[in-house]
Symmetry: C2
Subunit: 417 residues, 2 copies
């Protein structure tokens, strides 16, 4: 018989997480992987490099959760106290793990090509009460403990190393141990409508949702994701989820961007790839961020030819033939300039579509006519071009992100038209 | 007399944080701001949109902390349960707050230019047991509660709105209430040395640090930050911290990039600005990410002219004059190609310095001679140029980030030489 609900806590250890020097991206990834094997992360906790705080968190979370995943605090340097603490918490004594030792030696011989340090040798020591989770990507081994029916594991905080351990060891072992059906999510992406108005549109739909299907609104960068979730342990529930998801889609066709948990750049990239069309970019105010959205997609060279970053007016003229009269009469932040940029980069690269941006991202550089946050976005194909303006009211980095996401949506609609 | 230690917990509410759909950047920012006024965040907790879990977290954290900051769960849509829960937890009943109502009306009239919805009106309702924290940047008001000597506040999860409330209301009020000296951090940035080797270099220094000064290692992207921390309530402690920091710097001059908590791109940008020099970029494998590092810095147009993203070979020839013979004989990922790219973009933009990248970021596209992760980085000035190769072993996004950070360090050293 299947156990119905397995709850997990993720504990991340490190002062750097508490003082805001590091942003925790590990927990989000871990939660997604655990969801796939039916384990629900109901608490995520960050504590500092403080013996009392770590100890207390282990005691508390073991009352509230079945599985406790710990990341961080395993590096070779002296601010790490996690391993001795775990040794004491679970009893036992420190012993050298032969396989972990060979791994450390191997990494130094083959990759680092340096003599090993004493402190790296110590990394191969683990409490004799744990099962070692080998680390193929680094020198710190992971540890798996069991106590009073609860499972604890400790992994390094380096994302690449933690992910290797999770995928190769932890996930397969937890999956085998609990044998749970996955928690099923169906997510869609909307753009061009605010959270309140979207909620108003689907008020009826929401009120008739069965109790075992949950709806959530996830607003971000002028887009809103809608997510339906259910425990997938019953085929009827899964079928019902699909039916509800279809119904939801039908009510918002005009603002629907994609019916999967995807990104705007992937949606645009897929349209271009399917139609065998190519894209180029001419960025001023977004400064390479639009190109980065596309080039981080695996295989993007199939549709992305490249582009220019024309931060100075001089380069706007030189690289994409913006006329000096246009810059003089209308300014760099204008409909005329972004249209010439988009058309110019299209011509120079021979691409089928292009996108261009010019704006004032702040904190300085605004004028009464063109305040900080003013952005023009132009798109072009061989037969047509159009431009739109926006006024964002955020800080510089967020203005860049917003201009990028609004620009990608304009491009998407322009290609689809 | 000053209270010596004030501990805070940050609770973030939302399933999206637990299933990994959203990465929490709010907590890091909040922790930094609280540190500045001497409040130490010793726990950060994320829970889902579940009544029992939120209630439980309030009970627990009020035992462990003096200040409990809650973000999220205040939007206009029906998956939000935070406000009714707080109303019940702190007693009292829901009432309309006049100022919050005026704010909601104002936002709809002036910015959204749409009729207000019933659900937005409800956003102006708050428990009568709270003091309202007005939200100038959105429709959801914040709430400040006090109970049994503990302070609780609830703010929206939208970063821009939360930050406005923190800066305008919460931080000044907490600062006045506790009157604490700041927690002082001194951070430096190193590059080109691993965590273990750095620890070995400063082992003596570390062992003689006074007990009230803490050292931490923060490795990231091939760089390591070192941070010394102390409670700044005694002028002698602050002076001692400075003295220790100076001593630390002296031991690592050869790998020291900056003696402040900064980024590689800001270091490079500052050198260029001080010397009134300009920069351009020619990116293939980093696809705009290097340009984005510079263009997100306020005022970067003072030194950054722009550049090209030559993703296709065709554009490498067209935009920066890479010779087809070079591409044919050496391939796009080669010393020769990145040198021609760097020299070409320097010529075309008339900049003083340039950087160029070409590589195979994965997951596909590798060959036995040039496996996935192979990257060439070239830098040029009017008199000189040089190229370096790397082999990164991460996923695509991290390979892009690593190539960018290694490239920036090469550029920094090239300019300083």
């Amino acid at each position: 018989m299947l156990q119905q609900n397995v709850y997990a806590t993720i504990i991340t250890i490190g002062d750097e997480l508490l003082i805001g020097q590091t942003i925790d991206t590990n927990s989000a990834w871990i939660a997604q992987e655990l969801n796939k094997i039916g384990i629900w992360v109901h608490r995520r906790l960050a504590v500092g490099d403080v013996w009392k705080d770590i100890w207390q968190s282990l005691e508390e979370e073991s009352r509230l959760s079945d599985v406790i995943l710990i990341t961080g605090g395993l590096g070779p340097t002296a601010d790490d106290i996690t391993k001795p603490l775990l040794c004491q918490y679970f009893g036992g004594k420190m012993v050298v793990n032969t396989e972990a030792l060979q791994n450390v030696k191997h990494i130094f011989e083959v990759y680092l090509k340096k003599p090993m340090l004493e402190r790296n040798l110590k990394q191969a020591e683990v409490p004799d009460t744990c099962t070692v989770i080998q680390n193929k990507r680094g020198t710190a081994p992971g540890m798996w403990f069991e106590k009073n029916g609860k499972i604890y594991m400790s992994m390094p905080g380096v994302p690449h190393e933690m992910k290797g351990m999770m995928l190769h060891s932890v996930i397969p072992q937890l999956s085998e141990k609990f044998g749970l059906p996955p928690i099923v999510h169906r997510t869609l992406l909307t753009a061009g409508i605010g959270e309140s108005f979207l909620a108003e549109r689907i008020r009826e739909f929401e009120s008739t949702l069965p109790a075992n299907i949950k709806l959530a609104y996830l607003p971000n960068y002028g887009m809103v994701k809608l997510r339906l979730s259910a425990h997938g342990n019953d085929p009827r529930t899964a079928a019902k989820l699909e039916a509800e998801f279809d119904m939801l889609k039908q009510q918002i066709t005009d603002v629907l961007v994609a019916d999967s948990d995807t990104t705007m750049q992937e949606v645009v990239g897929n349209i271009l790839k399917e139609r065998k069309l190519s894209l180029s970019t001419a960025e001023s105010c977004t400064g390479g961020y639009i190109a980065h959205q596309f080039t981080q997609i695996p295989g993007s060279s199939a549709f992305f030819k490249g582009g220019v970053i024309t931060y100075s007016n001089e380069l706007k003229e030189k690289f994409v033939d913006v006329q000096s009269a246009t810059l003089k009469n209308n300014g760099a932040v204008s409909r005329e300039t972004v249209l010439e940029m988009a058309e110019g980069v299209l011509r120079h690269t021979g691409s089928d579509y292009s996108i261009a941006t010019s704006g004032i991202m702040g904190p300085d550089g605004g004028t009464p006519e063109k305040p900080v946050g003013t952005v023009w976005i132009g798109v072009a194909s061989r037969n047509a071009s159009e431009a739109h303006s926006f006024h964002f009211r955020f800080d510089r980095v967020r203005n860049i992100e917003m201009a990028t996401m609004y620009g990608l949506n304009i491009l998407r609609k322009f290609i689809l038209d």
